[in-house]
Symmetry: C2
Subunit: 342 residues, 2 copies
DNA sequence: TTGAAAGCGCTAACAA
DNA sequence: TTGTTAGCGCTTTCAA
């Protein structure tokens, strides 16, 4: 009973294998009685279609590939969950494929994956979303793909994005509204262009509020805690010292908080700190970190949805999903003590 | 050129397809000249064996399945990386399969995955490692599996484990050596038996050092930050107040630190805090958290290694891997101020 | 609405 | 050391 094939089912149900195939694949044009007969046989034999045979004959695998560089664990896991939640109920599984962005075998690895496993579709996360070589290779392979938060060549594929820039703009606006004028910014990793938009939002907010931009209050981080620490030390040495620091991600913001603690700078009384991403770290810090939450799971789910739609031929011309990030105001930001608000 | 088959290669190389198959699968008994001819043809045609055909004919898929409940993102990602590092170079890919431990479809889902995708082997992480129903189903399906940190029925499969209990023992010993006597413990989620061993280590250390066990200094957490917060408030209300709190994981330890901060209790002067896992949170907290680091990636790698060995028939009788955790002493623990060390 | 027959591209006996 | 011949279990024309 452990390995019934389509022939067994057909024999038991007294129909041809083609009919079994129709029923199993939920195709139309099968009489209700026939369908029921087949389903009964399927149940009785505990029949499971063999994915390999199906894949070989049908030239598709019911497997999606998830390609990612090495962003944070939480981000990736959220993406995985979001994608799986949508695609598993539809019979698709997920093959994961972490990549090293600067690896010379990057493209070759991907080609191998797609061609060998007959991957039906690919989902890309930053910074791979903007790796032109990868993108053109995927096009050459004619495998449909969808991108989460791409920044370049958006016409190349369906994609999902958030309003990062706007969120950074709003966060900066909040700080300004609290009375801050000397607001520093720690940028993200240069490979990670999505993160660059956050800096744009910061600059735009300053400009719109007529706050002079101080280049000495910008430090370039690499998304890591360690890089944030270096930036924080520099920024806290500037004169006049910034009264708020906005980091392009939570890890770097956490580093700012640590440096501030070490230097006896009180948060938020003497220094407000804001991050971006709302990682678990954010609420485990003390004081809890003000940050921006991206709906990562939903983005991934939406991306999977767009991809599956493509696979099923519903060829909507370049569908695009836009989801909103939200400000999470916690305790690490506040009005300057002894400073009047604006 | 995009879809050469084994026949094309055979034709171009002037050999039979069986010979091509031999070369591609690195089988012995092929003359060097022949091998080179074939490899040249493979390169020229950019031939990639079709995984589905291979799987169908050979009755195996070159895909491993990773089953996990919902432990932390970092843990899972480390496991994924560790497994992939070992299995990708050997031609195996990884299908991920997050499970809901208490879901009634749990077993059915797994059966479907294994049978449909013809998964060659399965890797289990806690708490699924101890889910008897899942285990016996896997046995019935006759799919080889390996477990990471199982606590029950260890004879059922190869497995990899660490010396959790010993590490907890050592950590407790450290606290005692620093002069602490009233050491509290926050236990982990009851489904997660691996975490229970940490409590055993704590108790053993107290006993061996002749420190009376105070049941009022034990609180039952659920591995989450929120549960840790509740436990911390209770523990810090006990009389006499504990001078150290050892939590079964970092998230709960982080909660202890937050509550201490809120109550104005200085760390480590008035309270030492220790965690377990060395998650990124640990060093982003202030003061940085003393904790225990498990070599998760290496464990996963080892697990994959044991599994692949099994698949290749080298049937070592129940191989077992044991790796060591290490204490990471940071700033959240220290001698009591004004209290003489032991 | 149903079925018959022909592969999909490979591996696995078995021969030679 | 190499080749021949069957399938693996499905999907897909194309007929009926």
């Amino acid at each position: 009973m452990s390995k019934a094939t389509i022939d067994d089912v057909a024999a038991l149900a007294g129909v041809s294998i083609k009919t079994v195939s129709r029923v199993v694949n939920k195709e139309p044009n099968v009489r209700q009685v026939t369908r029921e007969k087949v389903l009964a046989a399927v149940a009785q034999l505990d029949y499971r279609p063999n994915a390999s045979a199906r894949s070989l004959a049908g030239n598709r695998s019911y497997v999606l590939g998830l390609l990612y560089g090495t962003p944070s664990a939480n981000y990736i896991l959220d993406v995985q969950v979001g994608v799986l939640n949508l695609c598993r109920p539809q019979g698709y599984d997920l093959l994961i494929h972490p990549c090293v962005y600067r690896d010379e075998n990057l493209v070759e690895d991907i080609v191998e994956l797609v061609r060998q496993k007959r991957i039906d579709g690919v989902i890309l996360t930053p910074p791979l979303t903007d790796h032109m070589e990868v993108l053109s290779e995927l096009e050459r392979l004619e495998v449909p793909f969808v991108r989460i938060a791409p920044t370049l060549n958006k016409e190349l594929s369906p994609y999902v994005e958030t309003n990062d820039q706007e969120a950074a703009y709003d966060m900066t606006g909040q700080l300004i509204a609290m009375g801050h004028r000397d607001i520093a910014f720690i940028t993200g990793h240069p490979d990670h262009r999505a993160v660059a938009k956050r800096f744009d939002g910061y600059q735009a907010a300053l400009k719109d509020r007529g706050i002079p931009f101080r280049p000495d209050l910008v430090e370039n981080g690499l998304n890591s805690f360690a890089s944030g620490e270096v930036c924080a030390r520099r920024l806290l040495g500037r004169q006049p010292r910034p009264t708020a620091i906005f980091a392009a991600n939570d890890d770097m913001a956490a580093a700012v908080m640590m440096v501030a603690h070490q230097q006896g700078i009180r948060i938020p009384d003497e220094l407000s700190v804001a991050g971006f991403d709302d990682t678990p770290v954010a609420y485990q810090l003390w004081p809890a970190l003000t940050t921006v939450r991206q709906p990562v799971q939903q983005m991934a789910r939406k991306a999977a949805e767009l991809l599956l739609k493509r696979l099923k031929g519903k060829d909507v011309p370049l569908p695009v999903g836009v989801l909103s990030s939200s400000l999470i105001l916690r305790d690490s930001t506040g009005p300057l003590s002894g400073v009047a608000g604006s």
